[in-house]
């Protein structure tokens, strides 16, 4: 059954690809919310325009997606967060950026807007100033409780954000995050941008997922224009995506162990990470592989010595990594810190549609590469590891297994790739058209929705990082743990700040 069969809608939008989009009225909007709260659908995205809001809905079992649109005639829409909590931060953001009001909402505090932009509702068409009020953290009261405020500038080399811990002795009873510090206005910069500039912006949404974002952006444009990149370009994209996944997993596995005071692992995985970046540099001319993937294909083929560099990398990983796994598995002092620490309940992972290793370590069997089977993953053999424990240890193990899968995937791609074109021409003058794409970044699914005009300029582009639905789960994961375990929990999530602040 199509998702839209169960949602009364006014009309479908013909120019939206590859999944359907339909405009709904109150009844349809409410029906969609009910499907979300009942757990039949997962909230995949929720974003605004000056006078409309859109929700992307996922039916994981049927591998289907649909977008529903509510037109906000009076600048209002019925609050989704009131009934379905995973929508909350996105809903607050829609209000911050567009000034659209969620009716019936319980929490209207700003999220990205820290009252220093010099304007209210920067992407909307409401010309009303917004009163500045001091940000109110949620109360946690009790005689023995005290608060610890951390950030936005942290002690390490990491992105800025604010964490407010309420603790009873050493035990955390509540963590509340306040983010938005790296808000750069990416979606506003996208408006009116040429495809070249927009692709560069997408690349820089979250530096650690540069490839995944460029991949998703290119696929969204290609969906909108109903074109395909050449087969070789599609393989090259996946090659870069897996290389990016490897580099990040190595970095994070080491960083998690380092936070458990096991520096040897950090040193060893740091070497593997650097080797990945160097191989990427040899093969694609940039260590983070920025600006290689563009709508229509890729701008450059793999360098002549790239194939050899990558095969050497795979051999090195196969030689060294099993020993590191053994080391992780046999070090009691490490296990002591990671097992049963920072548990994400399977129920929460499902409700929030948590992507990546956060979801898969808590029983959520979703990986866009397999569930949505986009090219070239529909032609590649790989497994998606899933565990139930939901603790730091499970998130480490998911990453370990994913490293093994990525190594196998890169080897397959190198063997399967045949010579050919790497870029298709992008046709102009197709008229307004809309595209949606979801790709699997190392930390989870990236969703990009966009609308292009006649001149191939971006009218509106929304980029949704997996972190939106992972950050709130970090708040739940730390409860009952001690403050000293926060870095460990945090690192095992490694949520993006820039990707969620935009």
């Amino acid at each position: 059954m199509d998702i839209l069969d169960g949602i009364p809608h006014v009309h479908a939008v013909a120019s939206h690809r590859p999944w359907p989009r339909a405009v709904v009225a109150d009844a349809g909007w409410q029906a969609a919310i009910e499907q979300l709260t009942a757990g039949r659908l997962t909230l995949l995205g929720f974003w605004g325009e000056p006078s409309a809001v859109h929700m992307a809905l996922l039916d994981g079992a049927a591998a289907e997606i649909a977008v529903v649109t509510y037109e906000c005639a009076a600048g209002r829409f019925p609050s989704v967060a009131r009934q379905h909590l995973p929508a909350l931060r996105l809903e607050r953001t829609i209000h911050d950026l567009f000034g659209l009001t969620p009716t019936g909402a319980d929490d209207m505090r700003p999220w990205l807007d820290h009252h220093v932009w010099g304007k209210s509702f920067p992407l909307g068409n409401r010309n009303v100033p917004r009163g500045a009020v001091t940000y109110q953290f949620l109360p946690a009261e009790g005689e023995a409780l005290h608060q610890v405020a951390v950030g936005p500038v942290h002690a390490g080399i990491i992105e800025p954000g604010h964490f407010r811990f309420t603790a009873n002795g050493e035990h955390v009873v509540r963590l509340e995050q306040w983010l938005g510090y790296t808000h750069k206005g990416i979606e506003r910069l996208m408006q009116g941008a040429s495809l070249d500039v927009a692709a560069k912006l997408a690349n820089r949404t979250s530096g650690d997922s540069a490839v995944a974002y460029a991949f998703a952006f290119a696929r969204a444009v290609e969906a909108a224009l109903d074109i395909e990149a050449p087969p070789r370009a599609i393989f090259l994209r996946a090659l870069m995506a897996e290389l990016e996944r490897l580099a990040n997993h190595f970095g994070d596995i080491g960083a998690i162990c380092n936070d458990a005071s096991f520096a040897l692992m950090h040193a060893q995985t740091g070497i593997l990470r650097e080797r990945c970046l160097r191989a990427a540099n040899v093969a694609f001319g940039h260590r983070l592989m920025m600006d290689v993937i563009v709508p229509g294909g890729v701008v450059q083929d793999i360098a002549p010595d790239g194939d050899m560099a990558l095969r050497r990398l795979l051999a090195e990983i196969k030689r060294v990594f099993p020993r590191l796994i053994e080391l992780y598995d046999n070090t009691a002092s490490l296990q002591d810190r990671t097992v049963t620490t920072g548990i994400v309940k399977t129920e929460y992972a499902r409700q929030f549609g948590a992507g990546g290793y956060v979801g898969r370590a808590s029983g959520r069997n979703f990986d866009a590469r397999r569930t949505l089977a986009y090219a070239p993953y529909d032609r590649l053999a790989f497994e998606v590891p899933v565990l139930e424990a939901g603790d730091v240890n499970a998130r480490v193990w998911i990453r370990i297994r994913e490293v093994e899968q990525s190594v196998a995937l890169i080897a397959q791609i190198l063997d399967l790739m045949s010579p050919g074109e790497i870029r298709s021409a992008v046709p102009a003058g197709r008229g307004d058209c809309e595209g949606l794409a979801v790709t699997e970044a190392f930390r989870g699914d990236v969703l990009i929705w966009l609308r292009l005009d006649q001149e191939l300029r971006v009218q509106r582009c929304h980029l949704r990082d997996a972190s939106w639905f992972q950050w709130p789960l970090l708040e739940t994961a730390i409860e009952g743990n001690i403050i000293a375990d926060f870095p460990l929990c945090n690192k095992s999530f490694n949520c993006s700040y820039s990707g969620a602040d935009l």
Binding site: I157, E159, P160, T182, G185, K200, G207, L264, G270, S496
Partner: protein, 174 residues
């Protein structure tokens, strides 16, 4: 575990000898480091990194400076947790409006003498994010900048060269 430990003891250093001309430059700078840094600051410079709104690409490469290949500490350069312990602020990003105050406060919390290094195209002038309602622009719009390290992101080698040049500059100032 023993095997891994033993192997790391026996398997020689990975620390990067940069390609020939660079190696000479690094070695030359490294020897100057000792004299310059000793004169002013003893044997080391303490660096506090501040992300003022970057995409995180620059941070990834700054991290790489501590891996076995670049091993930044061999030059007497080390990252510290607090601006109060720092001689150098290494700032990235197009300085978002939301981070402006935090950057100013971090700068004010850093004792004199101090140096600010702006890292990456964004930190120079806002880069691709320049002109946004949410961004101030380059780091120098908010705090005085002593050195620019360009790139998007700069490679670890670029970063290392820049920081070593700073050590020279620091000596010059003294």
């Amino acid at each position: 575990m023993r095997k891994t430990l033993l192997e790391s003891l026996t398997h020689g250093s990975l620390t990067e000898p940069a390609p020939a001309p660079d190696e000479a430059a690094l070695a030359e700078l490294a020897s100057k480091v000792d004299r310059a840094a000793q004169a002013r600051l003893g044997r080391s410079l303490a660096i506090r990194q501040v992300d003022a709104g970057s995409c995180n690409g620059c941070e990834l490469e700054i991290h790489a400076l501590s891996n076995a290949f670049y091993d930044i500490e061999r030059f007497g350069l080390r990252f510290v947790a607090s601006p109060r312990h720092a001689d150098v602020l290494l700032v990235t990003g197009p300085v978002t409006h939301n981070m402006r105050q935090a950057l100013e406060r971090t700068y004010n919390a850093t004792p004199d003498p101090k140096w600010v290094v702006a890292v990456g195209g964004c930190a120079l002038d806002g880069g691709i994010f320049g002109g946004s309602y949410a961004c101030v622009g380059g780091v120098s719009e908010v705090v005085p900048v002593d050195l620019q390290i360009k790139g998007c992101p700069p490679t670890p080698t670029d970063l290392l060269k820049g920081l070593l040049a700073l050590l020279e500059h620091v000596g010059g100032k003294g």
